[in-house]
Amino acid sequence: MTQLKQDTPLTVAGRRFASRLLVGTGKYRDFDETAAAIEASGADVVTFAVRRSNLGQNPDEPNLLDVISPERYTLLPNTAGCYTAKDAVRTCRLARELLDGHNLVKLEVLGDEKTLYPNVTETLAAAETLVADGFDVMVYTSDDPIVAKELERRGCCAVMPLGSLIGSGNGLLNPATLALILEHAEVPVLVDAGIGTASDAALAMEMGCDGVLMNSAIAHARQPVLMAGAMRKAVEAGREAFLAERMPRRADASPSSPFAGRING
């Protein structure tokens, strides 16, 4: 018999997190809804984007970082919208300055606007530069086990394959390749992109993923705060099911009630 699985906190680049659900901050109606949904999700790690400041228009308008406090959450700046390694590296350096030296980033280098599929060659190049520059790099990538391993070799602290296209809500379209990534990975594997509803998140966790990162699945639910709570439970349930190790499948039925002592016996 192999040993029973014990839970340990999600640990990424030496940082320990109680929650295995990581959430984004885009697509919400307003900052109040953003804050309420993130609270309900129970997430410790919250990702955000970096963009040019609006100059000359309402310099007093509230800032996302006033709502998502760096004291309370581990902030994960991302390079969403970058299509080259160079832009992604610049964005990470700006983010590090923005957060006073905080060096944990989510790298994503995209291929085209229609699919937002990762550009793997640019992603590999950016990962190498960022790791050399002292960043802890959580990397969004395709669900290719070889690429995942190459990113790990370049020093990425977490590999984050897509379940399906960003913002599509199509869930895990290729669990078989995800299973291959999980089998060989020596760093945490998180599904990033494609989650549509709670069962998608639960499935990723049941398969043994270390975490799930999502944005649209919560923000674009009709009731985002309610969905945030559902996702928290789904990630916890999936994790516990993974640790518990599911029963073997069998072709025939197996009665749960004893055969003996039936009144028609």
Partner: protein, 66 residues
């Protein structure tokens, strides 16, 4: 003096440090990060950083995203 500020041309009256530009823009004390000619200028150096003709300045902040 003409600079490129967040991708647009901007005229500055006379010499300016980065800190003065931030003040003029109403961004003093705001959580922003700044690049000049694709190099980060740390917050601690804004006051000493003199802008020059043709400098490309990027001022960014955090926004919602996934």
């Amino acid at each position: 003096m003409q600079i490129q500020l967040n991708g647009e041309s901007r005229r500055l009256d006379g010499d300016s440090t980065l800190a003065q530009l931030i003040e003029t823009l109403g961004l003093a004390g705001r959580r922003v990060a700044i690049e000049v000619n694709e190099e980060i200028v740390p917050r601690s150096q804004h006051a000493q950083t003199q802008l020059a003709e043709g400098d490309r300045v990027e001022i960014v902040h955090a926004i919602g995203g996934g």
